[in-house]
Amino acid sequence: MAEHEIDEHSGVATTGHEWDGIKELNNPLPRWWVWTFYACVAFSVVWWVLMPTWPGISGYTKGVLGYTQRATVAKEMAALNESRSASMQQLDNVNTIADVENNPELLQYTMAAGASLFGDNCATCHGSGGQGGPGYPNLNDDDWIWGGTFADIKQTITYGIRSGHPEARFNTMQAYGRDGVLSEDQIGDLVEYVLALSGEQADPAAVERAAVTFEQVCAACHGADGKGNHLLGSPNLTDAIWLYGGERATIYATLKNGRAGVMPTWAGRLTSDQITALAVYVHSLGGGE
C-alpha cells in the first residue's frame, strides 16, 4: 500500500479515504474508549463465572452465585407476604362486618386487599366490578340467593356452590320439562305465573291455571309466595332481579332444562384471612345485609 499523505493541519496521517475532498484522518481510538472496551471484556469474563451464561444442549452453566430469576421472584413474594402478614393477621379476629366497619384503618386495608383479590380470583365470572352476567350473580345488588350477611358470603366463598366440597352449598333446580315431570302446557303456564309474581305483564288465564302446579311443585323451595329461601338457596321470584334473565324464553329454558350454576370452593386456595377480606369487599359493594 502506498504511503498515506500527512494532513497538514493536524499532522496526522490520512487513511486514504476521500469523499468530495474531505479526507479521513487515521487517528487512534480514544484512550477512554479502549479502556472501557477492555474493562467490558474483563467484566464479561467475571460475569461468565458468576452468573448463568452459556446455553448447552440440555441446560446452561449455572454460575457460582447460583442466581435464578425464579428464586428472586419467590424471595420477593415471600418478603411481600411477610410485610403484609401483620395487617392480614388483624383479619383473624373479624367475626362480624361491624368489626371492620368500625375501624377505618382496617376497613381501608381490607377493602384494598379485597379489591385486589377480587380482581385476581372473582372477576373472571362476576366481572371486574362484581356486576355479574347471565348465570353469574350481580354482587352489587341487594338480592341474595344464599344470603347476604357477612357470614353467609364468607361461607359461600369458602365452600362454593355445587363445587364438590363436602360443605358446599347445594340444591337442585330440576329439568322439569326434559325429565318429563311437567308437560309443555304446564311449563308455559308457569312462565306466565312467574312473570306475574314479579309484576310483569302476563296472561291472566295461564296464571290461574298454573297456580296449583306452582303450589305443588315450586312452592316447596321458592315458597308459596315465591319469595325464595336463603337457607335452601332458592331465588326470590317476586323481585326485579333475574339471574338468568327475565324474558319468557329464558324462564321457559330454566323450567325445561333446570339450572345448576357452579361456584368453586376457595378453601385451600385462599387463606382464611384472604376470604375474610373478600367477604368484606363483596359485602361493601352495596347489597350486604
Binding site: P104, G127, Q131, D141, D239, A240, G286
Partner: protein, 499 residues
C-alpha cells in the same frame, strides 16, 4: 498549552511611567476563537474596588441563603413539617413559609418561573447581564473557588509560577489543600441541596451515619461532582459553551442598556504613557492590560460587548485603580450604553434612558403576572370535591326495582385543621344516599375531613322505586363548610337502564 508557558517569561514589564503592563492575552477573545481548541487556563488577578466589594456581599448573601434557608423553622402544627422551605415529595407538598402548594397547584410554580423570567428580562434590558455577573450560581461558586485558589496558591503571578514549577512537596501540598477545600465546598453544596427535600435536622446526622435514603446520597454525589468540576475546572466554559442564556439575552439588550463598557470615545487612541507626558491627542487607555488580567472569562473588554463577557464588572475596578494611579478620571470602563458613546462622540450630553418601550413592556407584564399570581394565591380554594362515577357496573337494579349508582367522592381539605363539612347530593327528588360509616339524612350528611389531606368516600345514591322516573339525569355533589360558608361542587350523572 497554558497561557503560562507561552506568555509569562516576564510577567510584568514596565510600560514606561509607573504602571506595569501585564503580560496577559485575552485567550478567549473573538479574534482567537477557533473550533477544536484546547482550553487555556485563566489566572484572574485580584482587584479591589466598589464592584469587588459588591460581589463579595452578593456572594455572601446568595450562598448564605442557599446554605441556611433549609434550617429556618416554621411551626405548622401537629403532623405537619416545621421546616420553612421544604419540597416534600413523599407527602406531595411544597412548603414555603406560610404557603403550602399541592401537586394540583403546580401552576403557582409555573407562575413563579414566569415571574422570574420576566424579572430577568427586565433586569437584563436595563442593566445587561447582571444575573450572569453577580447572582448566577456558576459565577458565585466560581468566584468562591477562585478565592480559595488565591488563598492557597496566591494571586495571579504566584499561580502562574506555581503552574510552571516542578512537582515539589510544597506544590503538591498546595494542590492537595486546594482540591480538598474545593471538595469540602462541593460536598457542602450537594449536602445543602438535599436539606430542601428532607427535614434538615433529621437528615443531617443520617447522612453521616449512612442512614439517609439512597436518593440523598445520589444527589449529594451529583451536585458535589458538578460543583467541583463546574467551578473548579470548567468555569468560563460553562458560560461560553453550555449556557443558552448568553445567546438569549443578546435579544434583550439594546443600545440604551447599561452594560460594562469600555468607553472608546475616551480611551482611544490607546498606548503606553510615560509619567509627565501630555495627555493631549491621545486616549486615557494606557494599554496596561489590567482589565484583561482581572477578567475571569479571558477576554478583553476593550473589544466591545461580546458573548463571553458576563458583565462581572471586575475590569471596572481594575481600570479605576490604574486611572487613579495615572491621575485620570475613573470609569474609563464602567456601566454605560452604546448610545452614550455615540452621543459623546457627537458632542452631546450622555444620559441614562431607563424608561423605554421595551423596559416598560417588561415591567407592565411583570406587574400583571405578579398581581395575577398573588391574587389567585390569596383567593385560592381551601377545599374541593371531586366525583368519580362507578363504571362497572354503571348502575345496579335493586330487588324493589329502584336504581342505585355508586360514586367515589374525593374530599380535599387544604386547611391545616380538621373540618366538619356538609355533603349533599342533589338532582332528583327522594334520593337516598348511603356510605359505610357515615350517617346520611336523605341525601345529606356531615363528613369530617382530616387536615391537609384528601378523603375518599364511596357513596351509593338510590332513586325511589318508581319505574316511570327512570331516566338518566344530572347529579350535583356539593360540599359546604358551615363555619366559613365556603362551598365546592362537582357535577356528575346518574345513569339508569334504558327501557
Amino acid at each position: 498549552m497554558s497561557e503560562a508557558t507561552v506568555k509569562s517569561r516576564t510577567e510584568a514589564q514596565m510600560s514606561g511611567g509607573d504602571v506595569e503592563k501585564h503580560d496577559v492575552a485575552p485567550v478567549n477573545s473573538a479574534a482567537k476563537r477557533q473550533l477544536y481548541k484546547a482550553r487555556v487556563q485563566i489566572y484572574p488577578k485580584l482587584v479591589h474596588g466598589f464592584y469587588r466589594h459588591l460581589k463579595w456581599i452578593v456572594l455572601a448573601i446568595t450562598l448564605g441563603v442557599y446554605y441556611l434557608l433549609p434550617w429556618i423553622r416554621w411551626p405548622r402544627g401537629v403532623g405537619e413539617p416545621s421546616q420553612a422551605v421544604l419540597v416534600d415529595f413523599p407527602g406531595r407538598r411544597f412548603y414555603f413559609f406560610f404557603i403550602e402548594i399541592w401537586p394540583d397547584e403546580l401552576y403557582y410554580v409555573t407562575g413563579l418561573l414566569i415571574i422570574a423570567a420576566l424579572g430577568l428580562f427586565l433586569a437584563t434590558s436595563l442593566f445587561g447581564r447582571v444575573w450572569c455577573g453577580y447572582t448566577c450560581p456558576q459565577t458565585v461558586w466560581t468566584d468562591l473557588y477562585i478565592a480559595v485558589e488565591r488563598l492557597v496558591e496566591g494571586d495571579r503571578n504566584k499561580r502562574l509560577k506555581l503552574a510552571k514549577d516542578p512537582w515539589t512537596a510544597s506544590k503538591i501540598s498546595k494542590k492537595v489543600t486546594k482540591h480538598a477545600l474545593w471538595l469540602i465546598i462541593a460536598a457542602a453544596t450537594g449536602g445543602a441541596w438535599v436539606f430542601y427535600f428532607h427535614d434538615a435536622p433529621t437528615i443531617f446526622p443520617q447522612i453521616f451515619l449512612g442512614e439517609a435514603p439512597l436518593s440523598a446520597y445520589l444527589f449529594i454525589g451529583i451536585l458535589t461532582l458538578t460543583t467541583y468540576t463546574f467551578a473548579g475546572s470548567m468555569r468560563e466554559q460553562i458560560c461560553t459553551y453550555m449556557c443558552p442564556w448568553p445567546r438569549i439575552q443578546a435579544a434583550l439588550v439594546d443600545a440604551e442598556t447599561l452594560q460594562v463598557t469600555y468607553k472608546t470615545d475616551r480611551g482611544e487612541p490607546r498606548g503606553p504613557h510615560k509619567k509627565g507626558e501630555s495627555w493631549d491627542g491621545r486616549g486615557d487607555c494606557i494599554d496596561c492590560n489590567a482589565c484583561v488580567a482581572a477578567c475571569p472569562m479571558g477576554i478583553d473588554i476593550r473589544d466591545g460587548a461580546q458573548l463571553e463577557c458576563i458583565n462581572c464588572a471586575l475590569c471596572i475596578d481594575a481600570c479605576d485603580d490604574i486611572m487613579k494611579k495615572v491621575g485620570r478620571p475613573s470609569r474609563l470602563i464602567g456601566y454605560d450604553t452604546d448610545k452614550n458613546i455615540a452621543r459623546r462622540a457627537a458632542g452631546e450630553k450622555p444620559k441614562v434612558q431607563l424608561f423605554r418601550s421595551r423596559t416598560v413592556l417588561y415591567a407592565v407584564v411583570l406587574a400583571l403576572v405578579t398581581g395575577l399570581m398573588t391574587w389567585s394565591l390569596l383567593t385560592r380554594a381551601t377545599m374541593e370535591v371531586n366525583v368519580i362515577r362507578d363504571r362497572t357496573p354503571p348502575f345496579v337494579v335493586l330487588s324493589d326495582g329502584s336504581i342505585r349508582n355508586g360514586y367515589t367522592i374525593k374530599i380535599v381539605n387544604k386547611a391545616t385543621e380538621a373540618r366538619d363539612l356538609i355533603l349533599e347530593v342533589s338532582g332528583a327528588p327522594d334520593l337516598t344516599v348511603s356510605a359505610i360509616g357515615e350517617a346520611f339524612e336523605g341525601a345529606k350528611a356531615t363528613i369530617t375531613a382530616a387536615p391537609d389531606g384528601v378523603r375518599s368516600l364511596r357513596i351509593f345514591v338510590t332513586t325511589a322505586p318508581n319505574r316511570s322516573l327512570h331516566a338518566t339525569f344530572p347529579l350535583t355533589v356539593t360540599l359546604r363548610d358551615p363555619v366559613t360558608g365556603e362551598t365546592a361542587d362537582s357535577p356528575t350523572t346518574f345513569l339508569t337502564e334504558r327501557r
